[in-house]
């Protein structure tokens, strides 16, 4: 199937009448996912959005429920966001991040109703990356510029049109409803060519990294690696897979709501105990946790690396703390594997 770029705004306008449609829109020098009211507002050609797609499923600040206490007793009110949504223009790395987050919010021990309700009611329409950026390394972390993992539909930019690839049943139903024209052999060939031409130039060698992280918790390398890190949360908040959160009560007298906010392991408050003790006393332990969580603990728990190679942390770190360089330093360190 195929949809021409000219017809795309009309197609989106039709969807808007039926769904909440989110797409990348321009904001200053970057793009962010926002609900759009007009198909014209979607900006698909600008590479990755500044903030990752996770915020649509796991918002930075989310009201879990409100409560009030009166003489008659306590009242709780929870609202689940069960709107039918389409997220349009998701890059394959971001789509994969949701597959990873599914492990966290939907597992044997816990199913998060807020996240899951949104996931179940959302169709993800992705767009492949014809020109991966120099900071992209998706192919090093089991992804790719046209990877369909997590998507319902993938669009392949062929110049004047998008070739539509149906990935899931949800995607199939949407494509049928949209009534896209059939793609010709030439269109298919153009899509294949676009995929072939899209080269991810940056490769990050992860060979032996996990084995090293398994044993190097006390390695002196950590004393050096964190040194320039400012301990801010820019990398965490712009990361599509970082998912740690903090729950607080926003209350005045007997009325309030319980709110879930993104948290960051870079912050001093992150593991501060009620007793005043903090097992991660300095930036060293905090930065180590960031690397360990993504490349060891998450692998131990879910058999997947919690990094999709989107490059946002690389581009946005205030001191150019480049995760590719950090991983290479860790890998190259002389950790004693037998210790």
């Amino acid at each position: 199937m195929i949809v021409s770029k000219k017809d795309l705004p009309n197609f989106l306008d039709k969807l808007i009448s039926e769904y909440q449609v989110f797409a990348p829109v321009r904001k200053d020098t970057f793009t962010v996912f926002k609900q759009i009211c007009s198909g014209k507002d979607a900006v698909l050609a600008a590479g990755n959005t500044k903030l990752p797609v996770k915020e649509l499923f796991f918002p930075q600040s989310e009201k879990l429920y409100s409560y009030s206490v009166t003489e008659a007793g306590a009242k709780l009110e929870a609202t689940l966001d069960d709107q039918q949504k389409i997220v349009f223009g998701v890059r394959p790395c971001d789509a994969k991040s949701l597959v990873l987050l599914d492990h966290v919010f939907n597992n044997d021990k816990y199913q998060d109703p807020y996240y899951l309700t949104r996931r179940e009611n959302t169709i993800l329409v992705g767009i492949g990356c014809n020109s991966p950026a120099s900071t992209c390394f998706c192919t090093s972390v089991n992804g790719g510029p046209f990877d369909t993992n997590g998507l319902d539909i993938l669009l392949v930019d062929t110049g004047d049109a998008y070739v539509v690839e149906v990935v899931s049943d949800k995607g199939k139903a949407l494509a049928e409803k949209a009534g896209f024209a059939a793609a010709s052999d030439a269109d298919q060939a153009a899509a294949a060519k676009a995929k072939e031409d899209a080269v991810v130039t940056c490769q990050v060698n992860l060979d032996g990294l996990k084995a090293k992280l398994d044993v190097n918790f006390y390695d002196p390398i950590w004393d050096k690696i964190h040194e320039k890190c400012l301990g801010c949360g820019a990398c965490t908040y712009l990361c599509p897979t970082c998912h740690c959160f903090d729950i607080v009560d926003d209350a005045v007298d007997c009325n309030g709501c319980r709110v879930r906010n993104w948290d960051s392991c870079a912050f001093p408050l992150f593991t501060l105990h009620g007793s005043g003790h903090n097992p991660r006393t300095s930036n060293k332990e905090r930065y180590r946790n960031r690397i360990m969580h993504k490349f060891k603990y998450f692998v131990d728990n879910n058999n997947e690396i919690a990094c999709v190679g989107c490059g946002r942390c690389i581009k946005n770190c205030p001191v150019n703390m480049d995760i590719r360089v950090v991983l290479e330093d860790v890998r190259g360190s002389e950790a004693r594997l037998d210790s």
Binding site: A133, S134, K228, C232, G233, A234, I314, N320, R324
Partner: protein, 318 residues
């Protein structure tokens, strides 16, 4: 620039070889086009990586507070002013700090580069004196340096370090007074316009605290935003009022201490115009107390001193 880089390297290596210092904090070449990244060199070999370019934008004073041992730092104008401010606040022991001063003609703002290129990715930036060449996959554009410099560098009157033990390169000619034109323009707006502008800017804030952490004078052991008992401020980034409150308190706390280095704005991943607030206070402090932060070791901090001839127009209206 290459000459400066070589001189910095030589100075640092000598200091380490002669065991005059245990550590040199400077810049190494980073992983992105024309991007310097902070380097901590403890041996002459490590000092080989030191460099200097228009991408050395971080304020290294941030790494010098409460350091053990003898430390040397590569300091451009704004770093030196922050160092002076921190020495006066007893955060840096001047006797244990060796300053390699570098006169600075300005650093390049990557956000301006991004804006100019409208989505095209820059793969290399070549510095050719008063212009830079931006190179990408299918393009090469020459842009005047002034169009790509950080606003803080365009406004800067202290490119020459105010304090140093050794100077690398030549001192630059002095510049005229800062006219605070954009602050005056903002002050001339109505309250509603100002409120609307701030609300729009701070709707972008994600509360990552990069501004706070990049700021050399933001060093409270416990920041008021992190305090939970009592909770001074909401933790949610969804509340624009809280985002503004966070920044307003931060800026007031740095009044008379802020050297207008722009580290906060440079660090902000969301491109918020933070210097609008910091510079408003810099301007106020200058007008009200005739003071500037970190320009010499003798002046007392504006808000920590009292003299009978303070202008104090806000206090005594005649």
């Amino acid at each position: 620039m290459q000459k400066l880089a070589a001189q910095i390297k030589d100075a640092a290596k000598k200091l380490l070889e002669d065991k005059k210092v245990d550590l040199v904090v400077g810049f190494a070449e980073g992983s992105l086009p024309l991007r310097g990244t902070p380097l901590f060199a403890r041996t002459p070999e490590e000092a080989e990586k030191l460099t200097w370019s228009r991408g050395c934008e971080n304020n290294l004073a941030n790494y010098l507070r409460k350091r053990e041992g003898k430390v040397a730092v590569v300091a451009k104008g704004c770093d030196a002013r922050s160092i002076v401010a921190l020495v006066k606040e007893n955060q840096i022991n001047r006797d244990n700090l060796y300053i390699i001063g570098v006169p600075c003609t300005g650093m390049i703002d990557r956000k301006k580069v991004e804006k100019l290129l409208e989505g095209r990715e820059v793969l290399a930036i070549e510095d050719i004196g008063d212009a830079v060449v931006l190179k990408g996959k299918d393009f090469s554009e020459t842009v005047a340096l002034a169009d790509l410099m950080h606003n803080s560098c365009l406004d800067c009157r202290y490119g020459n370090p105010v304090l140093y033990d050794e100077l690398v390169g030549e001192l630059l000619p002095e510049k005229g007074e800062d006219d605070f034109a954009e602050i005056k323009a903002f002050e001339a707006k109505t309250t509603a316009e100002r409120r609307a502008y701030l609300a729009q800017e701070f709707s972008k804030c994600i509360r990552c605290y990069a501004c706070r952490n990049a700021c050399p004078v933001c060093y409270c052991t416990e920041c008021f935003v992190d305090c939970t008992t009592p909770e001074w401020i909401g933790k949610s980034a969804a509340d624009v009022q809280d985002n503004i409150l966070f920044q307003a308190v931060r800026v007031f706390h740095s009044a008379g201490r802020c050297a207008d280095c722009g580290a906060c704005e440079r660090a902000c991943p969301m491109g918020i115009n933070l210097r609008l607030l910091t510079r408003k206070l810099v301007k106020d402090v200058k007008e009200l107390f005739n003071a500037e932060a970190g320009v010499n070791l003798d002046d007392k901090a504006a808000l920590a001193s009292f003299t009978a001839d303070d202008p104090e127009p806000f206090l005594v209206k005649e």
